[in-house]
């Protein structure tokens, strides 16, 4: 189900503080690794292993920075302009930190042809999108769940599509989310809002494939 936005923000705020400290503490040794590698590379430019250590350190830095930026972005409740394609890319990257998704699913992000600017709340979009993913993943199965996700930039309004092979009970579960979106939720400082006023969720079923379309209004 869709988590309460206020509660989610509080959780994110706490997480952000811990993440900041964690990144700061990690950055000192990471800086040493990268620094010493660079100094050693000057002395031995042919040494391949140094390059690999440097790349690995770089990857750690990327993971930390991207995760932190994602937290910072999604904590914003008010509407802002951002590129949906980039947002989706960051979102999938962020979700990869959740080992539950990582172990039981294979997410295929189909490349978008162009950037698409949207004006919406990053927090509410993340909550809605993640509840949908959770729904797709929540149906018990031993098989690896393959999800195809794309940003349909050629449609108006812009649409996020999540597609997978139909499984028993998936359609009613998505419908439950759509119903929930029509119910008002209370947000401190804003009042009651309905997610359905911001996003329109529809289900398309063809043969064994089910697709959830989330349109950003």
């Amino acid at each position: 189900m869709i988590q309460n936005p206020d509660q989610y923000r509080n959780e994110l705020t706490s997480f952000r503080v811990i993440l900041e400290g964690l990144i700061h503490n990690l950055n000192t040794p990471l800086n040493l690794v990268m620094g010493y590698v660079q100094q050693k590379q000057k002395q031995d430019p042919e040494c391949e292993i140094l390059g690999r250590i440097y790349d690995a350190a770089l990857k750690i830095d990327d993971i930390l920075q991207r995760s932190y930026n994602n937290v910072i972005h999604r904590i914003v409740l008010r509407k802002t302009d951002f590129d949906l394609v980039q947002w989706l890319d960051d979102e999938i990257f962020f979700m990869s930190n959740d080992l539950n998704y990582k172990h039981h699913s294979r997410i295929v992000l189909e490349p978008a042809s162009q950037t698409t600017m949207v004006n919406t709340s990053a927090l509410l979009l993340a909550l809605t999108f993640e509840s949908l993913i959770s729904c797709f993943m929540g149906i018990e199965t031993d098989d690896l769940i393959e999800l195809k996700i794309r940003c349909a930039t050629n449609q108006q309004p812009t649409c996020l599509e999540i597609e997978c092979r139909n499984r028993k009970g998936l359609e009613p579960a998505i419908q439950k989310i759509a119903d929930k979106m029509s119910q008002p939720i209370q947000i401190i400082g804003i009042g009651d809002i309905k997610l359905s006023e911001l996003y329109h969720l529809s289900i398309v079923k063809t043969n064994s494939v089910i697709k959830a379309n989330l349109r950003i209004l």
Binding site: H24, T28, L30, L32, G35, Q38
Partner: protein, 466 residues
Amino acid sequence: MKSKKDVRILIVDDSVETLDMLKTQLGEDYTVLTAKNLAEGRLLLDKIRFHIAIIDMILPGEHGIDLIEHIKQQYPFVAVIAISGQATIEDAVTAMKLGASEFLVKPIRKLDLINIMVEKILRTQWLIEENRRLTELVQRDLETDMIIGNSPAIQGILQRVKRVARLETLVLIIGETGVGKGVFAEMIHCNSLRKHQKFVSVNCGSLTETLLESLLFGHRRGAFTGAYRDKIGYFQEANGGTLFLDEITETSLSFQVKLLKVLETGVFRQVGSDNDIQTDVRIIAASNKDIKEQVKLGLFRDDLYYRLNVINLIIPPLRDRKDDIKLLTNSFVKEFCTKYKKDELTVSPAVMSILMSYSWKGNVRELRNAIEHTVILAEHSIIQPEDLPDSIMPDKGHEMIPPVSTVLPWQQSKEEFERAYLMTLLNQSAGNFTKAARISGIPRENLYRKCNQFNIDYNVFRTLKE
């Protein structure tokens, strides 16, 4: 800066390993000192003059921002590179606002970037330093620690000084005693290409020919009675620099011949020597007399006159540039208050009026001496007429001269001026109309008429002088 090693860099970080790594990175080129906390950093900053400080923003129990603030207040010329392990835009903005030149985020992906930043900062520092030096040079252009005046006449002369200073030409300065001929000569030297060499000044008028010759050319031991050892002369002492010959018209004709020879050949002989000595001296000569007249009278060699008179500067007497009196007075008052450790004195309008109407035959020198006397004797914070030396104090005739007001209508101001002028004139001529007519160029009849018009009792001036 002689070499990169002269550049001192301070690094402040709580991680010893980071300090070691950055020291390795920069220590090859620069002198690097490290501190593990802000207190150590402050101690080093107190002892050593650093060029750059690299400061970690987050340290246990303290914030690098505090040190940046301290540096910018205490050592504003130290450039700062801020480093942070988890930087927010706000941190970066705060650091930059406080004056950090660069902001680096850990992990430093390209370590050489720090060397580039240091180089860039040093280049900027050098440019700032160079700019400051050049600005100072431009400002010093024709600057002198002596206040000369800002009247149009003086400004015109200063422009001329500026033009001739850098030329190697001889300069002849003409002006009454005390107008500051020496000051202008020194100013020419200080603005010339010879400014780093010596400026030697000789008053030719106060010396006998033999002594002058010995002083200028030097002498060998035994050349004359009392010449116990070899002595170099001013021509040698000022070699590469400037020799200022004041009161040149007071020299004898025979000395003038010798001087002319040096000017033409650049060669002279010490008294008592047979050897020629080469000299490279720029000559600036000065006189308080009309040299042309001296030439006509046969007291000054015409060939030397033409040789010297390449560029001439005629310094007007102080009485012809009364605008400068106020400026000079205030400047001298300040100078002597400092010299005699007195509180700041101000000049009362009455005193300024007296100074403005005095004839200043001794020019700036006389004014300077008068102010020195006044400052010494002044008992109150405002200088009053009784503080002035008696020699320039107006007598009864003077006291009657009303100060000219600048806010009166033109006709009234004109009449005031005429009245003041007549009183000064009568005071100087002791009420003698023939003399007054000769000084002023006004016919006697007109002087009588003007006196009647302004109700001036000229007999008072006659009585005063008796």
